[in-house]
């Protein structure tokens, strides 16, 4: 990755230098701040936001508090982390519900931000919470947009209301009447993508807003957006007084600097993140988790939450113990592979494991079919082999390869990967990843 590595790796690089050196001088803080500035800019945080951020962090870091502290590096991490959280909003915001149903949610944004896809995800999310949502097609410009919404609606079992290319405001009003008559409690309005400087289309959105007074007006923003995120968010906010932001396509290798910028300039909360293309891939936005992800401390909370819904708690505890004791066998490795599948994309998970942000693993390196091969290989081993992989020498390797329909190279690769994982766990156990309780707490 090198040049293209994310903000988290870059900041980690800065901090690893700092933590390694003990006490900090003002000059060192200045240098670190310069790197933070560059890292944030390369992560597409807006220029002005970066300036303010760096100023604030420097102000706090250069104070006595840091210099007198025993571990100045950790202090700086703490300050940067706190400021990142403060910048992105300090808690997770839920969707507002109208006292008089239906609750109306309007999505708006630039072309290609992912509004239509997000409609499906939101609907799925609401259904899971026991709501009865309905979708409304108000994108009357893009060819086949209504069809797309219909297909999306069908895939999440949600009715789609449409009136062809009628005026969106009129369609929206009719949709709400229809929803009332059908007992839908939430109405999600999909609007056409538009440039924030297109006055005619912005007028149209204002008309929809006036006609149906939505409970939520959510600006949908591509997480890969650059400096322009601020301009876009500001114009939509000025003209529509949005209630929140949805960040889409956060599963790219982008660190989503746009999230920081938008929150900083609009003051509106980021409510959800879209990760992945399947309709279930929607997550609430937790500023603290995002910040710790940015810092490369790993999004442990999200990982645990995700794992709990997919894997039984007991299994988790067992695994955690093995993690801690580093008594990890190939059998456990197999269980891990299977659980990971349940939990979602492996690469999503890897980013959440503390320290893994540092590892040279990019998503494109992870090949899900390889995982399948690995599983086949482990299944072709004897119990003894699984527990004591050291005994697997060349003849066993050949037998395992033949048995699993793979090659010896595949077997070697798996064993190597296993060894690396075990090594990683040993290091975690020894505290270099600051995981777990007691002494090995997070540095903040």
């Amino acid at each position: 990755m090198g040049l293209f590595s994310g903000l988290s790796e870059k900041l980690n690089h800065v901090f690893s230098k700092m933590t390694a050196r003990g006490k900090l001088t003002e000059l060192e803080i200045k240098q670190a701040m310069r790197e933070i500035r560059i890292a944030l800019l390369e992560a597409d945080v807006n220029f002005t936001v970066v300036k303010d951020f760096v100023a604030k962090v420097s102000e706090k870091a250069v104070g006595e508090q840091v210099l007198k502290s025993l571990t100045p590096g950790q202090q700086v991490i703490k300050i940067v982390n706190e400021e990142l959280i403060a910048l992105m909003g300090s808690s997770n915001s839920k969707l507002e519900v109208s006292p008089k149903p239906p609750t109306v949610i309007m999505l708006c944004g630039l072309q290609g931000a992912g509004k239509t896809t997000m409609c499906g995800k939101l609907s799925q999310h609401l259904i899971k919470q026991g709501k009865k949502p309905m979708l409304v097609a108000c994108d009357i410009y893009r060819p086949a947009a209504i069809n797309q919404l219909k297909v999306v609606g069908k895939s999440v079992n949600t009715e789609v209301f449409e009136k062809g290319t009628n005026k969106p405001a009129k369609t929206a009003v009719e949709a709400i009447k229809y929803a009332e008559s059908k007992g839908y409690d939430t109405v999600i309005i999909d609007t056409a993508g538009r440039l924030h400087i297109d006055e005619a289309l912005m007028d149209e959105l204002r008309e929809v807003k006036k006609a149906v007074s939505p409970t939520e007006i959510l600006l949908t923003v591509d997480a890969m957006t650059g400096q322009d995120a601020v301009t876009v968010a500001n114009s939509f906010n000025d003209q529509l007084d949005i209630t929140g932001v949805i960040l889409t396509k956060l599963d790219g290798d982008t660190r989503g600097g746009a999230a920081l910028s938008i929150k900083a300039v609009t003051g509106k909360p980021i409510k959800f993140c879209g990760i992945g293309e399947k309709s279930g891939d929607l997550e609430p936005f937790y500023p603290d988790r995002m910040a710790s992800r940015i810092l490369g401390m790993g999004d442990v909370l999200t990982l645990i939450e995700k794992a709990q819904s997919a894997v039984s708690e007991e299994e988790m505890k067992k695994m955690e113990k093995k993690f801690r004791e580093a008594s990890f066998t190939l059998d456990d490795f197999l269980v891990q592979f299977e659980n990971m599948k349940k939990m979602g994309s492996i690469s999503d998970l890897i980013g959440m494991i503390p320290g893994m942000g540092n590892m040279k693993i990019s998503e494109k390196d992870i090949d899900e079919s390889r995982i399948e091969r690995f599983k086949a290989i482990i299944r072709s081993m004897t119990k003894e082999e699984r527990e004591k992989p050291d005994i697997i020498k060349s003849s066993r390797r050949k037998r395992i390869a033949d048995g699993s329909g793979t090659t010896i190279q595949d077997v070697n690769q798996l064993l190597k990967q296993f060894e690396q994982t075990r090594e990683l766990m040993k290091r975690m156990k020894n505290g270099s990843f600051k995981m777990g309780k007691g002494k090995n707490r997070f540095p903040f």
Binding site: L3, F4, R37, I38, L41, E42, A43, D44, F47, L110, Q111, G112, A113, G114, T116, T117, Y141, R142, P143, A144, A145, N147, Q148, L149, K150, V151, V152, S155, L195, H196, I197, D222, M224, T225, G226, Q227, D228, A229, T231, V232, K249, D251, G252, D253, T254, G257, A258, E277, S347, S362, E363, K364, D365, I366, D367, E368, S369
Partner: protein, 299 residues
């Protein structure tokens, strides 16, 4: 040149250097750090990126010192020239027919729209154009491309949703061979560049094209959204690994985004920008012009 004029020439140069240095010191600091900060701001806010901005400004300072430039206006002109030159370094592909262009890119950058516009562009040049709907994943993508094919007045080959893109392309190429199409434009599904199997699929389509029409000129264009920040670099990098990227179509330049990330791409990955999308109408696709692109960044 006589000895005397040589000395005169030499002295003039020295005089210039002294004048330049004095100017630097005393003229109210026309080219002071604030001025460079201003330029830095302009570049950064256009998504040029921190590292590239730093590199460009260093180069600029060198040129300014070397050419003894004293006014802000002239420095700006030099900066523009630097930027233009860096974009023009990578030659555009030269078209030969039959021509096959496959476009790829991440989700929502405007591939299908760009395809429709490109079809119209070739059609206007009197080419016999075929559109290929190889985005079989996104809901209603083929419908969307069909509307564009009607607008452009060109033929389209498509299959049902969920069909294998490779088989759509195979069908399209057989059909193109029998109908004598000389421009074949393949629209693919948007894919985030970190999904390995989807990237592999692009390679597969490429192999089908190479096998079925080995004598045609086959180009791969990536569509980039001008609103995208530094992530665009890694997009081009990764797509370039899957299929050799020959050019960039930069879309959505009609907004307020400047698309400055292409300087880094052009410098590091040596891929030229070929077209720019400047609106939603079918004729809103223009040949890339480095000068007007740079003018939009530095007024």
């Amino acid at each position: 040149m006589g000895l005397f004029s040589k000395i005169k020439e030499g002295l003039k140069k020295t005089k210039d250097v002294i004048a330049y240095k004095l100017n630097k010191l005393f003229t109210g600091g026309a080219l002071d750090d604030d001025f460079y900060d201003e330029l830095e701001y302009v570049l950064l806010s256009s998504d040029v990126g921190a590292a590239t901005t730093e590199r460009i400004l260093e180069e600029l300072r060198d040129v300014v010192d070397e050419k003894l430039i004293r006014t802000r206006e002239k420095v700006k002109d030099e900066l523009k020239q630097l930027l233009i030159d860096s974009l023009d370094e990578n030659p555009l592909p030269e078209y030969e027919y039959p021509l096959i262009i496959m476009v790829s890119g991440v989700n929502g950058v405007g591939k299908t729209t760009a395809m429709g516009k490109l079809a119209k562009k070739f059609k206007k040049q009197g080419k016999n154009v075929l559109l290929v709907a190889a985005d079989t994943f996104r809901a209603a993508a083929a419908d969307q491309l069909t509307v564009w094919s009607e607008r452009a007045g060109v033929r389209i080959v498509k299959q049902g949703e969920g069909a294998d893109p490779g088989s759509v392309v195979f069908d399209a190429l057989s059909s193109a061979k029998s109908k004598g199409n000389d421009v074949i434009l393949i629209d693919t599904a948007g894919r985030l560049h970190n999904k390995k199997n989807l990237m592999d699929e692009l390679g597969k389509i490429s192999r089908i094209v190479d096998r079925e029409m080995p004598d045609a000129l086959y180009l791969n264009y990536i569509v980039l959204d001008a609103t995208t920040g530094q992530n665009a670099i890694s997009q081009v990098d990764v797509f370039n690994e899957a299929v050799d990227i020959d050019g960039i179509i930069l879309t959505k330049l009609d907004g307020t985004a400047k698309g400055g990330v292409v300087f880094a791409i052009s410098n590091e990955l040596e891929v030229p920008v070929v077209y720019v999308g400047v609106g939603e109408e079918i004729d809103d696709l223009e040949d890339f012009d480095s000068k007007s692109f740079v003018d939009a960044i530095i007024e």
